[in-house]
């Protein structure tokens, strides 16, 4: 009788090339390596300097997303890149992919998009895989029961050269989310509530496995939203056991196995879920049925509250460091302790990012904006996560709903999530954003970010202020 294993244990164990010893970490094999323009150029330079080839170009795939513009195409159907630095960075990625034989999803092509949106969409992301990218939100892919985590540029070089990483085995943490979500409350609210409860460092050193009835009930896109923000909870990775929802999503996608290969893969995937009695180093839990839509008031993702709750006061804080953190966050945000955020005016609404830019996110925002208008003076950016999402939204007529409401319908990319292009929030202005980070200056110098679901963001677009989306859903 073998010891019961967790999902994480099974994926990890199946990828150990050389086990950990007293002196060395494990050599871990990587099945899929995704690259983008920002965190890869220095790694390719290193390879070139040392005269090393990319070991498995067939397990490596590039896209352009971070520094790309999302402005409309010109009359030739091209997305013009005006910023010379971005232009140079994109050109460098092209050169690197050509020279090393790596498939690249070129800016504006049908396959291009945010790296964490295109992996699943293309069927590249599959259960049981190890997946890395020079990007912390690689945790997104864990929604499929893959072990997926972000790495730095030195490690990008390691994977390019050897398809392996040197890793110590992380600990596991079971995250149980039970109950049924109320209408108007979604995956984004679950993860924001979890991070508010356990803090931005709560998961450090651990891999989360999300489980429980509320997680099982979620679609793949919703599970991705939750796994995406595992890193905001301090965990390097988050995983969900693959089930029929997962298999149905993967089946038939371009890079997924087909026919007999798919059947063989399916047989393996079915063995992945954690065994009965498997041990986790740590446990967390959340009651989904009592959740309200969530919103953040501060400058890290754990500074979140139910949308109808007041901003915490210094007296609510457990220690001096958190009191100081609260004070400086409120000073930056221009919010008052003890006051509700409901009704607070906003200036910008951003619906996009690898957290919430998939088709279901756009549908939920469109449900609010249909036959309504964006409030006067509010800028609303709707940025699909990929060109395929964009095309599907257009086929469904969502773009027409956004445009009729007065929102901007833009090209795919990271956009205002990190403001590397011109999609920024002006200094001192308030943005409700469906993205994942409300750090000081993240959306532009001086920008004040309130994280929320696409539904809550869309509600604010209509009223021009922080609004409980549940009040707008019956009409």
């Amino acid at each position: 009788m073998t010891n019961p294993k967790t999902l994480f244990d099974k994926v990890w164990d199946a990828h150990v090339v050389r086990p950990e010893t007293d002196d060395t970490p494990a050599v871990l094999y990587i099945d899929l390596h995704l690259i983008h323009e920002v965190t890869s150029p220095q790694a390719f330079s290193e390879l070139r300097q040392r005269g090393i080839k990319v070991r498995r170009p067939d397990r490596t795939l590039g896209t352009m997303d971070h520094s790309t513009p999302t402005t409309p195409r010109n009359e030739l159907g091209i997305i013009p890149v005006i910023d010379p630095q971005a232009q140079k960075q994109l050109q460098q990625l092209r050169t690197n992919c050509t020279e090393f034989g790596i498939i690249l999803f070129e800016l504006g092509s049908l396959n291009q998009g945010i790296v964490h949106v295109i992996g699943p969409e293309q069927g590249l992301t599959q259960p049981g895989m190890t997946i890395v990218c020079g990007d912390s939100h690689t945790s997104t892919h864990g929604a499929f029961g893959a072990l997926a985590f972000g790495i730095g540029t030195s490690e990008v070089g390691h994977v390019l050269a050897t398809q392996c990483l040197l890793q110590y085995r992380p600990q596991t943490c079971a995250v149980r989310v039970e109950g049924t979500l109320q209408a108007g409350v979604g995956a984004k609210d679950i993860i924001l509530a979890l991070i508010a409860k356990y803090g931005v460092g709560g998961g450090t050193g651990h891999v989360f496995e999300y489980m429980g009835s509320a997680i099982r009930a979620l679609s793949m896109e919703e599970r991705m939203t939750i796994c995406n923000m595992s890193i905001e909870g301090g965990a390097r990775a988050g995983m969900v056991a693959p089930d029929e929802t997962t298999f149905a999503y993967v089946a038939g996608r371009p890079y997924a196995p087909q026919g007999a290969d798919f059947e063989a893969a399916l047989a393996r995937w079915r063995t992945l879920p954690s065994d009965e009695g498997a041990q986790f180093a740590k446990e967390m839990s959340l009651d989904a049925s009592s959740l309200a839509p969530m919103i953040t008031y501060g400058t890290n993702p754990a500074m979140g509250i139910a949308i109808d709750a007041p901003v915490p006061t210094l007296a609510d804080m457990p220690d001096a460091a958190s009191r100081q953190a609260l004070e400086s966050a409120l000073a930056y945000m221009g919010f008052e302790a003890g006051r509700p955020l409901l009704g607070h005016p906003v200036d910008v609404v951003f619906i996009g990012s690898c957290t919430n830019s998939r088709i279901s996110d756009l549908r939920s925002a469109a449900a609010i904006l249909k036959d309504r208008k964006v409030a006067a003076g509010i800028r609303v950016m709707v940025v699909p996560g990929s060109q395929r999402v964009k095309r599907q939204a257009e086929e469904e007529g969502l773009d027409a709903i956004f445009k009729a409401a007065g929102a901007e319908w833009r090209e795919a990319g990271c956009s205002a999530c990190l403001g590397m292009n011109d999609d920024k929030v002006p200094s001192g202005k308030y943005a409700i954003s469906s993205s994942n980070r409300n750090f000081v200056g993240r959306q532009g110098p001086g920008a004040r970010t309130l994280l929320a679901s696409p539904l809550t963001a869309a509600a604010a677009a209509v009223t021009g202020c922080v609004t409980d989306p549940r009040t707008m859903m019956l009409s």
Binding site: A14, V17, R18, D23, P25, V27, Y29, D31, V38, P41, Q42, E46, I52, R55, R59, L61, H66, S67, Q85, K88, Q89, I103, L124, M129, G134, D135, S136, I151, G152, T153, S154, E155, H158, A161, T162, Q163, C164, L166, P170, G201, T204, I231, G234, R236, P254, Y255, P257, A264, R268, N300, A321, S322, A325, L418, M420, R437, F439, V440, G441, P445
Partner: protein, 204 residues
């Protein structure tokens, strides 16, 4: 990489928790294709005033902090983005170590790769360091990597944990990529039996 063993340096304190890598180096500096110019953007929002001049109030800008090579910061340092630009910027500015009660996982791993030491100390030592620096700005701390010891200004030595393999590589100048390349036979053997090989990339 140059081997790292012992060194001492001037310490500067940034006693803030959860300093994220967007604060260490904002996205506008990430458009480089090399590592040049990153030090300029280090702690940009805090270090500069809106007109672009240095903020005299910011700890790094105080005269007594000039030439500091050890940063003392609050817990969960380096959370957020995986950008290796953050340790590059710190190193480019002249830092050789960051001392904090805890570090975010990816930052710690990235820092170790480039020889910027992430030195985790207990809360008590952290607060003691803060008061030393407050009393005597420009105070010096010594670090001994082979023995994993930090020597406080008063002479008290505390040990700190560090990943043993990374320490070995840093102390002996061992190149981690070179080490991985030496695993080639094991990697080939692994690939030959790895079932996910069925799913290697195919043309769409």
């Amino acid at each position: 990489m140059e081997p790292i063993t012992t060194f001492s340096g001037k310490a500067v304190a940034l006693p803030i928790e959860n300093i994220d890598t967007d604060q260490v180096i904002p996205a506008s500096y990430l458009k480089v294709t090399d590592k040049a110019g990153l030090a300029e953007g280090l702690f940009q929002a805090w270090r500069y005033l809106p007109d672009g001049s240095l903020n005299p109030e910011f700890p790094l800008n105080r005269p007594e902090a000039l030439g500091a090579s050890i940063l003392v910061a609050g817990r969960n340092f380096g959370c957020g983005s995986s950008r290796e630009h953050a340790p590059w910027a710190l190193q480019g500015y002249g830092f050789r170590a960051v001392v904090a009660p805890s570090f975010a996982d990816i930052f710690r791993s990235n820092a170790l790769k480039i020889g910027l030491l992430p030195v985790a100390v207990d809360e008590e030592t952290y607060h003691e360091l803060l008061s030393h620096i407050a009393e005597d700005p420009g105070t010096t701390i010594a670090l001994d990597l082979p023995n994993q010891r930090l020597v406080m200004p008063g002479g008290r030595a505390v040990s700190f944990p560090i990943d043993g393999f990374a320490r070995h590589c840093l102390v002996h100048g061992v190149d981690q990529l070179g080490f991985l390349q030496q695993q080639e036979d094991a990697i080939i053997a692994f690939e030959a039996q790895h079932p996910v090989a069925l799913n290697t990339l195919r043309e769409a």
